[in-house]
Symmetry: C2
Subunit: 421 residues, 2 copies
Amino acid sequence: MAIIVQKFGGSSVATPERIMRVARRVVETKEAGNQVIVIVSAMGDSTDDLIALAKAITDKPQAREMDMLLATGEIVSISLLAMAIDKLGHGVVSLTGSQGGILTEEVHGKAKIMEVNPERIHAELDNGNIVIVAGFQGVTEAGEITTLGRGGSDTTAVAIAAAMQADVCEIFTDVDGIYTTDPRIVPKARKLSTITYDEMLELASLGAQVLHPRSVELGKEYGVPIHVRSSFNHNPGTLVQEVSDEMGKEQMEKELMVSGVAYDMNVAKIGLFDVPDKPGVAMIIFKALAEARVNVDMIIQSAMRDNRNDIAFTVVQDDLETAVKVVEDVQKQIGGGAVAFEDNVAKVSIVGAGMISRPGVAAKMFEVLANESINIQMIATSEIKVSCVVMATDAKRAVVAIHEAFGLEAGEAANNEGFAS
Amino acid sequence: MAIIVQKFGGSSVATPERIMRVARRVVETKEAGNQVIVIVSAMGDSTDDLIALAKAITDKPQAREMDMLLATGEIVSISLLAMAIDKLGHGVVSLTGSQGGILTEEVHGKAKIMEVNPERIHAELDNGNIVIVAGFQGVTEAGEITTLGRGGSDTTAVAIAAAMQADVCEIFTDVDGIYTTDPRIVPKARKLSTITYDEMLELASLGAQVLHPRSVELGKEYGVPIHVRSSFNHNPGTLVQEVSDEMGKEQMEKELMVSGVAYDMNVAKIGLFDVPDKPGVAMIIFKALAEARVNVDMIIQSAMRDNRNDIAFTVVQDDLETAVKVVEDVQKQIGGGAVAFEDNVAKVSIVGAGMISRPGVAAKMFEVLANESINIQMIATSEIKVSCVVMATDAKRAVVAIHEAFGLEAGEAANNEGFAS
């Protein structure tokens, strides 16, 4: 008998009617002969309502008490879903994070899962029950209630799937799966049938909102196949899984070199000129930024000239003001030059495990942008990703052109080829 | 340092503003040099809202899942109150029933507390923290969440006060304390400064809504002084406590023979005529009623006549129809006579530990009713209570007359004397 983990987000359980619909979907899976574990988030906006209550009392709620408060949202969902499944005539039990054995570190608001103790879940499945576990929450060894922060319920689902050695972890969303790019920009964007963990990680951190990077990392670490699919239909979605060496060689040739095109409009660029070329200078700059809690994304250091470097980096636009102040101070301190910044920029990226073995992918992307007369301001690459910073006004045109050039449209033959380097 | 337990009900924490007010009251008690443990109920109507959500899904929610759902209400309250107390600059920690060591039997919806494990509470108090514990909920040995049913938060408060050997358990309500009778009927009703557990028990089961009988029983068993007082002012309320033998003799002479007059309009009377006078007949009647889940209050069997008895009893009005059907069947089965019923009746009672040692109290009550030309339909007595069933239309007049006759008005000398038998 297969073990299937199913995760439903807050909008899927926003009302009693929607909870009944989720119950029917869960029961269907059970009746198909599987053991089913369900993870749910809090109903609709209920977490926001709880936060509003806390804010009505204090601007600075203690993190421990905030966790105590927010954890109730998922407990409401699990008990209601259990009632709905019981009504459909199936044995069911709901478990809090604590009862479900979700052991976390002793950090509030963004705890990491240390361990899943699956004894209770196993026992309930063996009794023929459908098991519902509250997402987003756990418990410390000392019995304190914690929450997992952003992407928490996805992470709970994948962690339980790993601990239970589940056959698949299904993440139900309001989209059909992972697309080659944003269908709002490219209507012919194609749904991917499979994607590797690394590709999904890059896409997720580049702004694809469907799966949180934490859950993908966990899935990769434990080899949990993650099926991202729609809660509105029964179409197969996108399967996130490792491509084994054997499979890989065979599949890779059928698969696209580039799996997707991502873009991020929330980018600001900062340039530091004439930074002294001495050991420790980069450390001084980026440590100061970290202390000011600025998250730095891309970093580029240009070739040295007269013992001076130019350094550029990107941040999210909200952090721009803080970041500029920090680096102006640092430049004075280390005897550097001027600081420039720009917030009308965007980042366009291509992601694909296929590009590892194919040279010239980056060059092809640059050629496409050149043909469109789009100027590239910064470039960063990883093994499976190439990102370019361009003018914000050029971003969507860049996505459309790249998506077409790599043959990602629905219905197109997957014939994109490496650009000979 | 004194240990004080304070319990605030749902209306006291219905809004963020009211939660801030409760926080100030708690902090006051702490700043007066006490260790403070606070028990709170769910905010305002939030429990009803949760029940409505469950009802929107199913008519028959499983008791276990209902407990899981309802327990969230108190967890919201404790975390918000902790934030409010923290804002006022005091160390504070909120604890769920489970974290607070409230161990219950394995029954859902109306679990009884088996044990309070006070280790965590002690540790937090020793750290200088104010401790907030969720009312109405507990946990079984197996880790299942339970709720305590009606009067649950009062019971939590008294149980914790007992386990912590607290100096007093303060129950905050929207009234000033326990009155000699309902002030809406007798505006001159007097607030009692003290009352015994037994008196409070009788008053509570006679309809005084302030304290649930369960909490009073628990208080009596463990000798916890319970202070019923207003959350709107600092007036002393009514102290529920045992009168020790030493204190008793001294106090009893100062105290009233009758402490209060209670009434209950939700009464229906059923009469069974010509019931065969054989062993086991009463058992047959009242077992049948119990099996039909009818709660019987007063039972009276008249003197035997020709080997036949008349039996009368009272029930709440909602149970009248069911009860009549049951006893009509039973009368046929055992060869009894007719069944009569009446729902326009009420029960008027006097309660007082003082009547144990003073003869004639009941007779005085009957005299007062006779002087008012109020006919008594049934009488039941206990050591500290006399109840009379009268016509519903006579009930309020009876309360006023009895209250006056026993000298219970505010400002009156407490000079009521036993009626010589």
